[in-house]
Symmetry: C2
Subunit: 362 residues, 2 copies
């Protein structure tokens, strides 16, 4: 489930893959990641951008890291399950109290198999918690006007409380125009600049928080991790994960630094952090030596690396070298099964919040 | 001029004064700053929030700091003058080419003498570069609807390219409602959340950048300070200076940390910075020991401190202990005469940009 969600080209794992190519130990991956923003081919079993080799070598292992794994595993799969149950209960309550069923509309353009899979998964997730899903499938040669017409209809449709445009769109369409057409009250992805602006500003509240960074913070909350006054480093500055994650940490009174492709000493800066959120799409980039003992690590990356022992020929790893990190961190999310399952749970959560807000229901 | 502009309650120096009271060496100022957001009384000569004592003591002075001042002085007054001349030339060009005169409308509510002074200064500055200024003065008991009506009129008025609502508004008005009513194409203050969102997002462009942080970055540019790849620390996280300054530095590929009232070790973090922008309103808070040798310092604070030797009984100092800093930094803005004069120059610049955009004039 996690891998399917996180290989969604509109989600965290893939979009900032291109932006983080100057770390010294990641240059080897540069060419592999200059390609389409999605990771998996929609036809083949093998990922397009598969890394041949991304081991966690032992050269950075220190005495403290040589110990047995001691980090608490932040189990996103289990938390996401719990959140879905809570959402399901909320949906029931909403229906019983005022007869309203939250609705999520998904607009899919073209015949990409991967996109169709992601949309189907979202639909299944909606149905599992009682959210009604609406779907429009348009052919690849549909016009931008047609897409805008459907968005406009969903904007005006009271049964729809969230609208999601499945990315990528065909190349003849202006993605920004189309995303901007989703009314802010139904922008459950939370990517509208007005939402981001409100997220950045003190004293303002966004309508929605983008799903993946919201999932990261939710994991910290549910595992009782103090954020206030802590040093936090966010690795990666994408619009959909790194930047909003930094704004969220800042809102909770962390002292935040964003480390990115132009940062000269990422290892040294990251080692100061009590909380690390990594969202760059570089397999095993964050080594044990980057981590302060006792830090809490949220690993957003989902990176395929070659693995002959796997029936698929590859396995998924995070941005953080898990084997090294789990010996030095206080807590860490696994990949898969960490942040991945949280993204869709937060999408459901945003949809229900939107429905409640539309009817002023608390 | 600078002191008048920067004591403007809608400007940098005053608004975040309240938010930064937990630094160990600033607790003494706490009570003094829990008061109206504006610094100067509109009737008396003495500032309301005057600090009795804010010396740069010698206890932090190290060997390197004991040297003679060596920092280059970043002369905001002179840069602002040059920018005004450039703006004046642009205004002439715009008028000669297409007959358009940029217009700035200022809405003033109530009879505060300080607000009247700031509005008058803005008007004079506009006239000095050929920008037409429009002004509405409403009585203190005007209704919110009346103010909104004037804003709506200015929104629709083609001769007006920028609208500025003088703050503070009378307490019976909802400031956020009123500011949000200014159409984004004329929001020359750049405080609209949509502008801030675009500023935060990669690949998006704000219509306007807030004037004071824009002035800070302009000073760095005009003094040839490299930003890309540098460590930057912004002290203070206000919506109008600290936060947008951090976003601007981030857009220019600095590695940015925001230090704020909940930061546990501000001195240690600030000492890592190649570029420091301080905007907290705490006199002399940033000591020599906070500064890395060779750092560049932009000091946004304008703080009145008691000075018996001054005819006014006080003088203005920055957030940074200038005497210590100028011996260790590579370059520093003085207070007054640093960032202060840049704010109004950027307001004029935003107004002209708006007029040019309205007529698609490059």
């Amino acid at each position: 489930m996690a891998s399917m969600i996180l290989s969604d080209p509109s989600s965290a794992a893939s979009v900032h893959r291109l932006s983080f190519t100057r770390f010294s130990n990641s240059l080897v991956f540069l060419r592999r990641f200059v390609g389409p923003l999605h990771v998996f081919s929609h036809t083949a079993a093998l990922p397009r951008a598969l890394s041949l080799h991304a081991p966690c070598s032992s050269r950075f292992i220190t005495a403290s890291m040589a110990a047995e794994p001691s980090a608490k595993v932040i189990d996103g799969k289990s938390v996401a399950k719990q959140i879905r149950e809570e959402i399901s209960a909320e949906v029931t309550k909403l229906k019983e109290a005022i007869g309203v069923v939250p609705g999520l509309a998904v607009v899919l353009v073209g015949d990409r198999k991967d996109s169709a899979t992601y949309v189907r998964n979202k639909k299944i997730a909606c149905e599992s918690v009682g959210i009604k899903s609406f779907e429009v499938n348009l052919p690849n040669d549909a016009s931008e006007q047609e897409v805008l017409k459907y968005i406009s209809d969903f904007n005006g449709e009271p049964l729809v409380h969230g609208i999601l445009v499945q990315l990528p769109l065909p190349s003849h369409m202006n993605e920004q125009n189309i995303l901007n057409a989703v009314m802010i009250e139904k922008d459950v992805d939370g990517f509208h600049p007005l939402n981001i602006g409100r997220l950045a500003m003190r004293g303002r509240e966004p309508m929605f928080v983008p799903c993946t960074p919201k999932g990261c913070i939710e994991l910290l909350h549910r595992y009782g991790v103090d954020i206030k006054g802590k040093r936090a480093v966010v690795i990666g500055r994408s619009n959909i994960v790194g930047m909003p994650a930094a704004l969220l940490l800042q809102r909770e009174d962390a002292t935040v630094t964003i480390v990115h492709s132009r940062t000269k000493n990422p290892e040294e800066i990251t080692r100061q952090a009590d909380i690390i959120i990594s969202a760059v799409g570089q397999p095993n980039m964050v080594r044990g030596s980057w981590i302060k003992p006792g830090a809490v690590i949220i690993d957003v990356g989902i990176n395929p690396v070659e693995d002959a022992s796997s029936p698929r020929g590859y396995r998924l790893v995070g941005d953080v070298c898990y084997d090294e990190a789990c010996k030095i961190a206080a807590a860490i999310t696994p990949v898969p099964g960490g942040v991945g399952p949280m993204t869709i749970a937060m999408l459901l959560s945003n949809t229900v919040s939107s429905a409640k807000r539309a009817y002023n229901f608390n």
